[in-house]
């Protein structure tokens, strides 16, 4: 079956329908990772977005449910050049097509993903609409896309209740789920921490009442400035003396809570090859990234820049003065992508007083 991808600029790309057969509206972004489609699809940060994979073949190793980064697929749509049902891997449980259908996510294959990527690079992230209806009304769709924004994203993806990953006797870590990938909790749990995950709108008081040894603020989707309530809570967490580590959206929210601002990048950073320099160590690490916004206008009295992006000089990490707080824009939990910055989880533990149970 044919599928049509209509972009906000009026261009139309015709390909083959993949996954669920239903229409989808999305913000179109691209990801340059050459592996890891399962992780990308299930990363809550992609809520409301249609993801183009720049790598031209997807589906090579099938899907195994273990590699999911959350409970479901979050992308609105998936846009690939070639979909292959040749899924060759010892852990393979389903084809990519079956996986998309299972979570009712429509996708398109057989389009020139490089051409679309170049368009987004030049014109910036834009709205898109996917349909299998050949009689689509282009004018109407384009009009609708011009007004499309992703709303209430964090509320949509955060979990309904508290969950605990036990490690009796380990440091207690509160993980504020504003759209967390599972490997954040897993990375903490693997290191012997007793992790409690809280829904995004949990009050600071409730979290602090559980007396955590450290607080982790996760990654998540959408425009960080939308998260007014969460930001207010985070300000309270900032004022406590509990060590805090923030990743991606967590990094942005902490910045907003403490007086910095954020701005939208033209087409974001999404991939597994972004170089980030740790200014304290003088070393560059390759990081996994997925963000459309960056932190800007930092108040030097509150925080100092700890990491920068080598490609475009944007802020990749902050250390808060007089506080046991550090945050990064990239994803030390990887999945997909390089594991080079996992050491930050260990730094977080150091901040709580060093290894326990060791």
């Amino acid at each position: 079956m044919k599928a049509y991808l209509i972009l906000a600029d009026g261009s139309v790309y015709t390909g083959d329908s993949l996954g669920a057969n239903r229409d989808a509206v999305m913000e179109v972004v691209f990801n340059t990772s050459m592996t890891g489609y399962t992780e990308v699809l299930t990363d809550p940060s992609y809520y409301g977005q249609g993801v183009i994979m720049t790598y031209p073949i997807e589906g090579n190793y099938g899907v195994n449910y273990q590699d999911m980064e959350s409970r479901r697929i979050w992308v609105s749509s998936f846009i690939v050049r070639e979909y292959t049902a040749l899924a060759s891997n010892f852990r393979n449980e389903a084809t990519l097509d079956e996986f998309l259908r299972r979570y009712d996510v429509p996708a398109i294959s057989g389009v020139d993903t490089r051409a679309i990527t170049k368009k987004i690079r030049e014109q910036g992230t834009m709205g898109g609409y996917l349909t299998t209806n050949p009689d689509y009304n282009k004018e109407e769709i384009v009009d609708m896309l011009r007004g499309y924004t992703i709303k209430d994203a964090v509320k949509a993806v955060t979990r309904g209740g508290k969950t605990r990953l036990k490690n009796e006797g380990g440091y207690k870590v509160a993980l504020l789920d504003v759209g967390a990938k599972d490997n954040i909790a897993d990375s903490l749990h693997r290191r012997g921490l007793d992790v409690t995950i809280y829904p995004a709108l949990t009050s600071a008081e409730e979290i602090l009442a559980d007396k955590p040894d450290g607080i982790m603020i996760s990654n998540g989707p959408g425009d960080p400035t939308d998260c007014v309530e969460v930001i207010a809570n985070i300000k309270k967490l900032y004022d406590s003396d509990v060590p805090i580590f923030g990743i991606c959206l967590g990094h942005q929210l902490m910045a907003l809570a403490t007086g910095a601002s954020t701005e939208k990048l033209k087409y974001g950073h999404r991939g597994a090859n972004h170089p980030v320099k740790d200014l304290a160590l003088g070393r560059v690490y390759i990081t996994s990234q997925n963000h459309g916004y960056v932190v800007s206008k930092i108040n030097g009295d509150v925080a100092e820049i700890s990491h920068v992006n080598v490609n475009d000089g944007t802020v990749e990490g902050l250390r808060y003065k007089g506080k046991n707080i550090f945050t990064v824009q990239f994803h030390p939990e990887a999945c997909p992508g390089p594991q080079d910055t996992e050491y930050l989880f260990d730094e977080f533990i150091e901040m709580m007083g060093g290894k326990k149970n060791a």
Binding site: F30, S33, T54, I57, N60, Y61, N64, G271
Partner: protein
């Protein structure tokens, strides 16, 4: 950290001659590194024995020593030039070993020379099997059960302990020389002692065989601050067991989920950090296909063949970055030249697939054992780029120039499933085609995977190709189907054959249906950033990015494809110089080539690079887009010449000699007319098609005769025939591959062989130099020792040669280059071959005469006159130095190849000896070629009857010099009769201990054996020659070479050798 201020003068060691396992990739790496060092204002001193390289140009380095790569010579260069540093990691294993020897001996320290980049401790840790294993254990990286042994007994004991099969890997050898898989004790007894002998340190590793696991490689770069990145992952289609140089390789890895991918990537980074490599490094892993179990196979702490491939596959210039790191730069300080914006510290993202297929020499060495294992056999490789695996594979297959355009080979078409099942068990160069045919015949992917262990993903993809072939064969050709076939990389002619149309009809349909190739850019970043270097590949079903707009005239330079015997790196040298000359003259240059190892396919050599197969269709597609002003075919060897007709048909102006005149030089009958007009003789000859005609022609001319196909390179399929039986055998071999052109039978004339390269502007000629071959006619010019200036010609003979060259060039209206081979016989000068194009001697003659031959040829092609170019006309004054070009062979890597020299070329590379006198130059060239010159010792002589008289004089001279002379029956008797004290050795038939035992036992230091007859392997001579090669005993198959060796041996007593900086010539 910026460049270290202490580094002002750096010595770069090259990799020497092209041999199997060490090819053009090191010219590419070395050239890139030298240019990078010069960019930083560093004075570069270069030493390399290979004169065909671009790196040995004085434009690339400040001081250039084309000298033997021995510690003695490098020491001399260091003492003369006093560099402050040495860069050892860009000259392959050869460069690395030399630097290590100098470091270990304390020489570098003594002369205050710093080892740049990776330290000697690191190199040792990575190269020494045991310390490597210990290092891996210390960081928790699994290695394969293995043990270093120094004796066969220990090898056997350990093999029994871990169980057969085991892999034998000699330490410190390249391309896995001397290694192999031993299935049982018997095979171990063959392989292990050989490996022990070849290892520089007398060690081999005996290792548990993990054949069948996935083989995954990472190219990693690390700087002095400890930042490290992986440039590229690569997956071998052929599982562990086949040397990676002999494997079909794709980039990036295709069958790994992110979990496995990151596991191996992290392991690679841990390893490079442990080893503290500063620069490039290659890490090879074996991954068990059904678990997360993996093992580290090997680490190369230097730039390698895989780095060249990774560089071309991603656009990331590994050698250049490695050179900058060696100077002290950090990755985040080095600009990414492709984007001009980002930095070297990022990981390239690919939005296409790269396929590499090795180029094996089995089309030339028809008798060679084709089995692939741990010892590399390929001489070169091709690479192709496409968004689909199918397309990448199909493009790579036709880039091999095997006259194969699809996976459905006629040779397997008639085989049934059972026969194919047997074929599938063979691991050789044909496996891809056997797999394809098996799929076509309905053998399941699962079964093929079971037998071959090739991942099902690759098999499924190959199956897609075969299924599409079937659809084309049986279905109706719709626009959708045609587009799909083009997306899958099908060649128009293949589609035409399947649907019953001609290739032109398919092209017409494509144009009608608007199915046109799109050209996409290799930009290192999957379009995330704008790229500034136009490096293109073709694909279908896409929007094109090629931008043909230009304010300059565009010239297409056709490259020479994969390195193979007969067409080596020399042609890349010429192509690159052509580009540089054209750029200087203000033209826009466009290179088309498919060889990832070469300088010509570096993104910053030409204005535009099309990484494409060199076929008429692929070139025509580029012509359609670029509409070049003209094309140059003279520099890309036969690969480019073969495209002349197609280019003409496309209406492209061929710059230089007209295609009709090229034809007049190559077509026998037409050429006879040319000779008639010029009143020049050539050995009598006939053009024939069948075996019967050949026999008739030979009898008419009189034996011995030369038999060969026309339009070939390196004398492919050429033999001297002495009788009708010989002819029958050779004709059968020649006709194994499809012959589009007639076969030639020529009288074999005995005499001195002389060669010239000349530049011609249509009126005048310039001969930079006359070269004389040391071996008399009958040995291919590429395999002969060639001397410049000619040493034994009379002035009259020289004058004749100049006159003939001028009249042939004029008559053939040559504009550009011409190469002529003469025989100077007792009754005058004959012409044996005229090639109106660049030849393999152009680089070395350019260097020793200081005449920029390629640039002059280009200027002539564009209308300038030699008289105005400042290098004169006629014969250029002779240089003050004598240069001896010596061929280098790779026989020890190719079992069952006869080492006897003849009219068919067998060498893989060459070295140069340059000195004020002939004798010194000759001696140097022997050393440079890796020849272990026996000072005294035992010489074994077995020659054909016709050589007996002559061999007496030779034997006497060796005897006088102090060699013990040994010979078999007839020869021995003959020598004794002539007063030479010869000792007798048993022939093979005479029982043990026979001649082979004698050689095997190490009793011989030098063998002289002249072949009686071509390709028969059961004969004693063949066995003697092979045994010599396998025991590393020099074996001369021409009395002339043996005579030259004696000259060289005597020179050894003449004291110290000098060194020559060719940039001062």
């Amino acid at each position: 950290m910026p460049k270290s201020p202490d580094i002002k003068k750096v010595l770069v060691i090259g990799s020497g001659p092209i041999i199997i396992g060490q090819a053009a990739e090191f010219d590419y790496a070395g050239t890139q590194a030298c240019r990078s060092l010069k960019d930083d204002g560093v004075e570069v001193v270069l030493i390399n024995s290979n004169p065909a390289t671009i790196m040995t140009d004085k434009d690339i380095a400040d001081k250039v020593y084309i000298e033997p790569l021995t510690t003695e010579t490098v020491e001399k260069v260091i003492m003369a030039e006093k560099p402050d540093s040495i860069l050892p990691t860009l000259g392959g294993q050869t460069g690395l070993n030399l630097a290590m020897e100098l470091a270990e001996a304390g020489f570098l320290k003594e002369h205050n020379v710093k080892l740049l980049g990776t330290s000697s401790e690191t190199i040792k840790m990575a190269e020494d099997r045991q310390s490597f294993k210990d290092a891996m254990l210390s960081i928790g990286q699994p290695c394969i059960a293995s043990k270093v042994v120094e004796t066969y007994a220990d090898a056997l004991a350990f093999a029994k302990e871990i169980g057969f099969p085991v892999i034998v890997r000699p330490a410190y050898t390249l391309g896995g020389t001397g290694g192999g898989i031993a299935e049982n004790e018997e095979e171990l007894a063959q392989i292990a002692p050989h490996g022990l002998r070849l290892s520089r340190v007398g060690q081999v590793l005996i290792e548990k065989c993990i054949a069948g696991w996935k083989e995954i490689e990472f190219e990693v770069i690390r700087d002095g601050a400890g930042s490290c990145i992986t440039v590229c992952s690569m997956e071998n289609l052929d599982p562990v067991g086949v040397h990676t140089g002999d494997s079909i390789v794709v980039a990036p890895a295709q069958t790994l989920a992110d979990k496995e991918y990151q596991m191996l990537r992290t392991a690679a980074l841990k390893i490079i950090n442990k080893l503290k490599v500063e620069g490039g490094c290659n890490v090879q892993f074996a991954l068990e296909p059904n678990s997360f179990e993996y093992a580290v196979i090997e680490v190369n702490p230097r730039v390698s063949r895989s780095s060249a491939l990774a560089s071309k596959a991603t656009g990331y210039p590994i050698a250049k970055v490695a050179a900058k790191i060696a100077l002290g730069y950090h990755l985040d300080e080095i600009k990414n030249a492709v984007t001009g914006k980002t930095f070297a510290c990022f990981e390239p993202a690919l939005d296409y697939i790269v396929a590499k297929i090795p180029k094996w020499p089995f089309d030339k060495f028809v008798t060679a054992e084709r089995k692939l294992g741990t010892q590399m056999k390929a001489t070169g490789e091709v690479m192709s780029i496409n968004p689909t695996f199918e397309g990448a594979l199909m493009k790579a297959v036709r880039s091999l120039e095997l006259n194969i355009y699809s996976l459905d080979l006629p040779a397997y078409r008639d085989m049934d499933a059972d026969a194919l099942r047997q074929e599938l068990k063979k691991v050789d160069d044909m496996r891809l085609f056997v797999v394809a045919q098996s799929l076509k015949k309905g053998i399941s992917v699962d079964e093929i995977n079971e037998i071959t262990k090739i991942d099902k993903w690759f098999l499924g993809k190959i199956d897609n190709i075969m299924k599409l072939e079937e659809t084309l064969r049986t279905g109706e050709l719709t626009p959708e189907l045609l587009e799909k076939a083009k997306i899958y990389g099908f060649y128009d002619k293949v589609i035409g054959d399947l649907v019953g149309k001609t290739d032109r009809e398919i092209r017409a349909l494509r144009l009608q249906w608007n199915i046109l190739p799109a050209y996409k850019m290799v930009d290192t970043c999957a379009a995330e950033f704008e790229a500034v270097t136009p490096y293109y590949y073709s694909c279908y079903g896409s929007e094109t990015e090629a931008d043909p707009a230009s304010d300059r005239k565009k010239i297409l330079v056709l490259g020479s494809g994969p390195i193979r015997i007969g067409q080596g790196i020399e042609f890349d040298y010429c192509s690159v110089h052509a580009v540089w000359a054209l750029s200087k003259l203000g033209y826009e240059t466009i290179i088309v080539n498919n060889n990832p190892e070469t300088v010509s396919t570096d993104f910053d050599i030409s204005d535009k690079l099309y990484f494409e197969p060199l076929t008429p269709e692929d070139v025509e597609n580029i012509v359609d887009v670029e509409q070049p002003y003209g094309a140059i075919v003279q520099f890309g060897g036969q690969t480019a010449i073969k495209l002349t007709k197609a280019l003409n048909d496309m209406g492209v102006r061929i710059l230089g000699t007209d295609a009709r005149d090229v034809d007049r030089a190559e077509d026998r009958e037409l050429f006879d007319e040319v000779l008639e007009i010029c009143k020049i003789r050539r050995p009598q000859g006939r053009t024939i098609f069948t075996c019967e005609e050949a026999i008739a022609a030979a009898n008419e001319i009189g034996y011995p005769v030369l038999v060969r196909p026309s339009y070939v390179l390196g004398g492919q399929g050429m033999e001297i025939a002495y009788n009708d039986t010989d002819i029958t055998i050779y004709m059968e071999i020649i006709n194994r591959s499809v012959q589009e052109h007639p076969i030639l039978v020529d009288k074999y004339v005995l005499g001195k062989e002389v060669e010239v390269d000349a530049v011609c502007d249509g009126t005048d000629i310039l001969i930079p130099g006359i070269m004389e071959h040391l071996e008399r006619a009958g040995i291919h010019s590429g395999d002969s020792i060639s001397v410049y200036p000619a040493q034994t010609l009379t002035q009259e003979e020289k004058d004749t040669i100049i006159r003939f060259t001028k009249s042939l060039a004029t008559e053939l209206n040559v504009v550009g280059l011409i190469n002529i081979q003469f025989i100077v016989a007792s009754d005058g000068v004959y012409v044996i071959e005229v090639n109106p194009r660049s030849s393999r001697t152009v680089p070395y003659i350019s260097k020793v005469t200081n005449v920029p031959i390629v640039a002059l040829a280009i200027r002539c092609m564009l209308g300038e006159r030699l008289k105005d170019l400042g290098y004169g006309v006629g014969l250029h004054p002779e240089a003050d130095y004598v240069a001896v070009k010596m061929p280098v062979f790779s026989f020890e890597k190719l079992h069952d190849v006869d080492t006897a020299l003849g009219p068919e070329m067998k060498s893989t590379g060459e070295v140069l000896g340059i000195a004020p006198t002939f004798h010194e130059a000759l001696y140097k060239s022997f050393i440079a070629s890796g020849f272990v010159i026996p000072e005294r010792g035992n010489m074994l002589i077995t020659v054909r009857d016709t050589d007996k008289e002559e061999v007496c004089r030779l034997a006497k001279d060796f005897d006088d010099y102090g060699f013990g002379i040994y010979a078999t029956g007839g020869t021995c008797e003959y020598l004794r009769k002539n007063g030479i004290h010869a000792r007798r050795v048993n022939k093979i038939a005479e029982g043990a201990p026979d001649i082979l035992d004698f050689i095997s036992a190490g009793g011989v230091d030098l063998v002289v054996n002249t072949p009686t007859r071509g390709r028969q392997h059961n004969r004693d001579g063949f066995k003697i020659r092979r045994t010599s090669v396998e025991r590393s005993v020099p074996c001369m198959t021409s009395l002339d070479t043996a005579r030259a060796l004696l000259t060289a041996i005597k020179q050894k007593d003449e004291g110290e050798l000098g060194i020559v900086d060719i940039s001062t010539i």
